[in-house]
């Protein structure tokens, strides 16, 4: 029997009802402040984040699973602090990047999807089963042994999403998931996002992706300047952009 090593922390207790909380959060890259004074609680099922280029959206997204640590304040996911319990947070919050090429780390499709499960310590038979199921769900079953670099842009993004979903995170953050895609593939990804049972936070420039969302944040100059249902939030964003 394995002896419990001194100093190893037990899995922290999480409280899913709390959702994602930002308490007085700010972030700076050197002298440049990109986010400041964020106080939010995100518990809705589908949340959109919109804003101009350089407004701080991507940094905001990265704060939510600890890829970026706040320079000020605290980010809590289900009550877990991203600064001190980052691994537990990352098991709960999946992240889909804008460029799937940067996210796919194994040469072939099935191996890439299995990668996250391997990191979670999932036993090989269960791993095989879960990979097959997720590839089937996203129409990639026929490509399981294909080289990832030969997939189309849309298929690569679906593969990137499959690689995150197979890990069964409770929440998923998408950073501009449709920016590099054509209309058909963007629609397919939008449909995938719409069908997810998990809480999703989607950073996007594609405003029609926000249809049916529960809440939309408009970020400008590192602050949330509007926080509303999609229609009024998008109207506020358009008005903001029209004035420039």
């Amino acid at each position: 029997m394995r002896r419990r090593l001194p100093g190893r922390r037990a899995e922290p207790i999480a409280d899913p009802a709390r959702g994602i909380e930002l308490r007085g959060v700010g972030h700076s890259y050197g002298e440049r402040t990109v986010l400041s004074d964020l106080d939010l609680q995100l518990t809705e099922h589908r949340i959109g984040v919109i804003g101009a280029n350089g407004s701080g959206k991507s940094t905001f997204a990265r704060l939510l699973n600890g890829l970026v640590q706040p320079s000020a304040g605290q980010v809590l996911v289900d009550g877990l602090d991203t600064a001190t319990q980052v691994r537990a947070v990352r098991r709960r919050v999946g992240f889909v990047f804008q460029d799937p090429d940067a996210q796919i780390v194994h040469p072939t499709v099935a191996e890439d999807v299995a990668y996250g499960l391997e990191n979670q310590g999932v036993p090989p038979p269960e791993r095989t089963e879960r990979v097959a199921a997720v590839l089937e769900r996203y129409g990639l079953a026929g490509h399981a042994d294909h080289p990832a670099h030969l997939l189309s842009g849309g298929q690569k993004q679906l593969l990137a999403i499959a690689g995150v979903l197979v890990m069964r995170p409770a929440r998923i953050v998408f950073d501009e998931p449709t920016t590099l895609l054509d209309l058909v593939n963007a629609r397919r990804v939008a449909q995938v996002v719409a069908e997810l049972e998990q809480q999703v936070v989607v950073v996007t420039h594609q405003l029609d992706l926000l249809d049916g969302f529960d809440r939309v944040l408009v970020v400008d100059g590192g602050r949330v300047v509007a926080d509303d249902a999609p229609a009024p939030a998008v109207a506020a964003y358009r008005a903001l952009m029209a004035g420039r």
């Binding site: 394995r2 691994r87 996210q103």
Partner: protein, 215 residues
């Protein structure tokens, strides 16, 4: 398919053999070919490799031909130089030996998934844990290298096209210099995002990976 797109799905006995055994056989063949440097042995090895690849593993001939095409310039150059320096027999030996090894490596990679090969490397490197090296990191390094070679090549093509579209010089030393700088910037950006993606997918989650914790 590029030269790196090697795995060919199959159920042959060669496919089902453990990747470690295939790598061991490949290493054994390499030692044999250099320990017994004769044309009959090299020719016999080449024939055996073709038999294993085409008959036992049931690989399409085109898969093996693609690997030969990738190195044929080097094979011809080596054969010519060796023929001039050491005679025709030496050239035949060197060519047959290299061809046998290239095809043997192709058979191993065409019948083994990258994850199986990486698992073997991780097992072989396991003793390095004693000196603080994490075998999983070495395996990841190999997988990432195989994944990113075609991707970087694709990015290089894009940079060349972008430069050519704007009348840039895409040949010669100057073309190489103007290619390398933007490519390096892109590769560094890609590496940064990939590092984030690895973090996001639990690459540093050693506790969970070793089965002590499930999240």
């Amino acid at each position: 398919m590029t030269a790196l797109a090697l795995y060919v799905r199959g159920t042959s006995p060669v496919h089902r053999s453990p990747a470690g055994l295939k790598l061991l056989a490949l290493a054994g063949l390499s030692v044999l070919l250099f320990a017994v440097p004769t044309v009959p042995v090299a020719a016999g090895a080449l024939a055996a490799v073709l038999a294993v690849g085409v008959v036992a593993a049931r690989l399409p001939v085109s898969v093996l031909a693609r690997q030969v095409r990738a190195v044929w310039v080097w094979l011809v150059a080596l054969a010519v130089v060796t023929a001039v320096v050491g005679g025709v027999a030496s050239a035949a030996l060197v060519t047959l030996r290299l061809l046998a090894l290239v095809l043997a490596a192709a058979v191993v990679t065409a019948t083994s998934r990258v994850s199986e090969l990486v698992a073997v490397v991780e097992r072989v490197c396991a003793p390095l844990r004693l000196v603080g090296v994490r075998p999983a990191r070495i395996g990841l390094l190999i997988a990432l290298t195989l994944r990113f070679i075609p991707l970087v090549a694709e990015r290089a093509d894009r940079v060349r096209e972008a430069q050519a579209a704007r009348g840039g010089r895409v040949r010669g030393v100057r073309g190489l210099v103007t290619l390398v700088v933007p490519l390096l910037v892109q590769v560094l950006q890609l590496a940064h995002t990939t590092a984030e993606a690895l973090d996001a997918r639990g690459a540093d989650d050693d506790e969970a990976r070793s089965g002590r914790m499930r999240g």
